[in-house]
């Protein structure tokens, strides 16, 4: 008799059927990969079994017990209906749709070109949109964008392109260019934050932090520090771009900690130090591996992060992160299993 096979998916979302032994083998390998890379503890036997039960649980959609629900924040949330669905809706109206139809706990207003360098030029106009939304909605509203340090390089930006300088062996010039870009980006973010604070934003979302490496993450930390110093009632959420900080510079430090190579359980401590209210960790989804492999790896990393965090942790669960498949239209069977595992095993504070 053939072993029973369970419906699950690959990291790219495609359907795959696996036996219990295959699932357990992949879970173990995923967990061990996280332990090795992050130098963190594995899941306990109880947690491992709980995750196995979530992965193989009958039903297309799974959920948590009543009362165990958690809250949500977003990135470019109020613009998704426009940019991802092609439905032209004013962003202030979009915020109301998220509040009264989608039941979101918060949403962020963001420009379609979702980065602070672009927003700087239209910051006051963006603040007007946020003000309209704030007058009509009850839930907290953020203004969000990415630090996106790569946008500060020539020919579009003011500094030399370190990705060009590095292969040319111009190491010193490359490091100097990144350091200069940090100062430009922090200044732009704080300027935008000032306009948003002026209309009463509940928070600033520094989304996809670290996308251009350690200098990019440093921007978020320094900008958070500056925002909290100038506008103490304006709260900051730092969301990450990837599971570890790429060492494009390699020597940058914050609070005497070298940023390159940090995993979520170390990143969150720096976010706390900078003054962030919420930290959004990422674990990359590997498209070539199965959901059991990815999710065991995710749970190992995120559990280590929440275990040390003193601020709320909102795990990023969009396309291609934290076990969610890398595909445009997300399957509810996997997304609901990701959410349940993150709540029940990793003890996250939000999504």
């Amino acid at each position: 008799m053939q072993d029973k096979k369970y419906f699950t998916r690959m990291g790219d979302g495609s359907i795959v059927h696996m036996t219990e032994a295959e699932i357990r083998e992949d879970m173990k390998a995923g967990m061990e990969d996280a332990v090795m890379r992050g130098k963190i503890d594995p899941l306990t036997d109880e947690e491992f079994e709980h995750l196995y039960s979530i992965i193989t649980m009958p039903g297309t959609i799974v959920g948590v017990e009543p009362g165990m629900q958690i809250v949500t924040t977003s990135d470019s949330g109020s613009d998704k209906i426009n940019t991802k669905c092609g439905i032209p809706v004013d962003r202030a109206v979009n915020a109301m749709l998220h509040e009264r139809i989608l039941g979101c706990d918060s949403v962020d207003i963001g420009f379609s070109d979702y980065n602070y360098k672009t927003v700087k030029g239209v910051a006051k106009r963006e603040a007007t949109v946020l003000k309209h939304a704030l007058n009509r909605t009850t839930m907290p509203l953020f203004y969000g964008a990415m630090p996106n340090l790569g946008f500060y390089t020539k020919p579009d930006g003011p500094v030399d392109n370190w990705a060009v300088l590095l292969p040319e062996g111009k190491i010193k010039e490359s490091l100097a260019a990144q350091e200069e870009a940090v100062e430009h980006a922090v200044r732009d973010i704080v300027y935008v934050a000032e306009q948003m604070n002026d209309v009463g934003a509940d928070g600033i979302n520094l989304d996809t932090s670290g996308a251009a490496g350690d200098a990019d993450f440093l921007v978020s930390l320094k900008a958070t520090e500056a925002i909290k110093e100038r506008f103490p009632d304006l709260n900051v959420e730092i969301g990450m771009a990837g599971e570890f900080v790429l060492g494009m510079h390699g020597k940058l430090k914050y609070d005497d900690t070298r940023l390159a190579g940090l995993y979520p359980h170390k990143q969150v401590k720096l976010a706390e130090k900078a003054g962030a209210s919420i930290f959004g960790p990422v674990v990359n989804t590997n498209c070539n591996m199965t959901f059991p492999w990815n999710m065991a790896r995710v749970c190992t990393f995120i559990k280590a992060c929440t275990a040390v965090a003193e601020i709320p942790v909102h795990a990023n669960t969009g396309m291609g992160v934290c076990g969610v498949p890398m595909c445009e239209n997300l399957p509810g069977d996997i997304v609901s299993r990701v959410d349940k595992a993150l709540v029940e095993i990793c003890k996250i504070d939000g999504l």
């Binding site: 509040e99 007058n135 839930m139 509203l141 009463g200």
Partner: protein, 97 residues
């Protein structure tokens, strides 16, 4: 949690303003509203509680109790004992402070 359908917006406000973890934030809000944690996440219970207290709803009715937007945020700030930026700006610009 469901935002204004339940009390998700209130819990998130405590995470933002006081950096409360989820359990602490839910407990704090539940105590303020005199409901259980189960009720705090329940759309039926919370619709009634929110209407009674004027905390904003997911549905809009043209009656005095069905606050939404700024007027609801005035009441939320008072209930939770927190400062809400947009409420503060409104007061400043309306000459209320």
């Amino acid at each position: 949690m469901g935002g204004v359908r339940t009390a998700g917006d209130l819990v998130l406000r405590m995470q933002l303003s006081h950096k409360m973890k989820i359990d602490e934030a839910k407990k704090f809000v539940a105590e303020k509203l005199n409901v259980t944690l189960e009720e705090l996440c329940d759309v039926v219970t919370m619709s009634e509680v929110r209407e009674e207290l004027g905390l904003g709803l997911a549905h809009v009715e043209p009656c005095a109790e069905a606050n939404i937007g700024m007027e609801a945020k005035f009441k939320i700030a008072e209930l939770l004992g927190i400062k809400i930026n947009s409420v503060e700006r409104f007061k400043e610009r309306a000459g209320m402070k």
